[in-house]
Amino acid sequence: MVNLDHLTFTYDGNREVLSDISFHLKAGETVGLIGANGAGKSTLLKILTGLLTDYKGQVKLDGMDVNKKNLAAVREKTGYVFQDSESQLFLSTVYEDVAFGPRNYGYSEEEVQKKVMSALQQVHIEELKDRPIYRMSGGQKKLAAIATILSMEPEVILFDEPSVGLDPKNRRNLINIINRIGGLKIIASHDLDMIFDTCDKTILIEKGKLIFYGETAKILTDQRLLEESGLELPLSMQIRDGNRKINT
């Protein structure tokens, strides 16, 4: 579904923000993307949605090159949940904003309504339908932002820090949502516990280089590798290790 071959990217032509990254992701997988601040996670996601196209190497989505020419098709297949949900939402009410995508794809107003309601139900915010967005909390905005993507029913959904700002209940809710929705999901996050609960595979990048790509359980238990990349063991692992130490 998503194929990267020797992807290299720089913003200014000098410093490589991503260098020589290759991996292949299959439809239906949920893949974690982890790495310290500035590692290049957001940049990678932006390349996958076609927001940044001046890269070297090859990026393919469903067999199609991600470049300026295929932009419309690429965007129809992908959904991107921004790190900052405030700027993702720009219309007056939740309903209007969630309807924006389907309307742009030319659905009739009855179909739009169906899609919007189904998206809102998936994230359990039907009751916020007519709420003005500027009067919602950060967590509510996040859920609304996710609904704007779900209403377009994309084949690939990219999440940039989806759990930031959510309370424990909504975070758990989000994990359930991610586990329930179909398609290929790529989740960039520092919330390694969430990654552990949602992702089969995980990609670790450090300073733009691919360090690890494989089973989530394998990387998230590898304390040495995580610490070398500026990360820590997920809390749940630490507790488990702690218990083990206490028990022995």
Partner: protein, 273 residues
């Protein structure tokens, strides 16, 4: 609440009100836009001493306000800053045109005074008209109307983005000034030395956020077209929209070409003749 917060809330509130009203409107936004432009054109074309004629044109504003349930007072609060400009512009007139055109008792009315009054009325009427039109269509439908009138995609997108940018900019100012105030307690306003970097940073940050908004639009299929149609407007609203446009433009022309207000007034004052 701070002035800034108030401005942001006002904008959001107006935006939401407009979107809500436009979602129920059966009159096509193109009709509204055309009527509004015709209105502005005709109001501006009135002779600079024709106060009574202009007063007749206020009919449209009043009727739209009543039919669309628009509050004149809230409207005034929202457009008062624009009206200040109009007043300033008009206030120059009495000094320019001192010729006496009318004598009421001992008071001589100069051309400048009359033209100041007509300019004020023209300003108020056109600003109210544009405001009412906006409140009945909302930015989305307004852009759709512009596209229907074959305004190029680029132009329409710029209009849309400027509109969105204003809110982003205000919010960024608010966020940054809050951050500044929290670290400079007891200081009133922002120190003049910090203005330069504040403005520069503001520009960068607000541009970045505006870029995010635009990206978010692109990623959700925005391509400069507005396919979004209001339920029922196309089917049942067509005749209504045409009637609305033709009717109002007809009335405007009538009011412009004949002294209707004068005639009605004469009829009321001397019904016997």
């Amino acid at each position: 609440m701070s002035k800034l917060q108030q401005a942001i809330d006002n904008l959001h509130e107006a935006d939401r009100e407009a979107a809500k009203r436009s979602g129920k409107s059966r009159i096509h936004p193109v009709s509204r836009l055309c009527v509004c432009m015709a209105y502005i054109g005709i109001v501006v074309s009135f002779h600079k001493y024709d106060v009574t004629g202009l007063l007749g044109m206020s009919l449209f504003i009043i009727i739209t306000g009543i039919l669309e349930d628009l509050s004149f007072i809230r409207g005034f609060q929202r457009i008062k800053y624009i009206l200040v400009f109009v007043v300033l512009l008009g206030a120059v007139n009495p000094f320019l045109d001192k010729g006496i055109v009318m004598q009421t008792g001992s008071i001589a009315v100069t051309g400048g005074m009359l033209s100041m009054i007509t300019l004020l009325i023209k300003g108020i009427l056109t600003v109210y008209c544009a405001y009412h039109m906006f409140m009945c269509t909302g930015i989305e439908q307004l852009c759709r109307a512009l596209r229907c009138l074959k305004v190029p995609k680029g132009g329409v997108t710029v209009v849309l983005l400027i509109y969105r940018y204003i809110i982003v900019l205000l919010k960024e100012i608010q966020r940054m000034s809050l951050a500044y105030r929290l670290r400079a307690p007891g200081q009133k306003g922002i120190h003049i030395k910090a203005w330069g970097s504040f403005a520069g940073l503001l520009l960068l940050r607000s541009m970045e956020r505006a870029q995010n908004v635009y990206d978010s639009m692109l990623l959700r299929g925005y391509d400069g077209e507005f396919r979004y149609e209001i339920l029922g407007q196309e089917k049942t609203g067509k005749g209504l929209s045409i009637a609305y446009t033709a009717g109002w433009i007809g009335i405007f022309i009538l009011l412009r070409c004949f002294p209707v207000v004068q005639m009605v007034g004469d009829m009321i004052i001397s019904p016997g003749r």
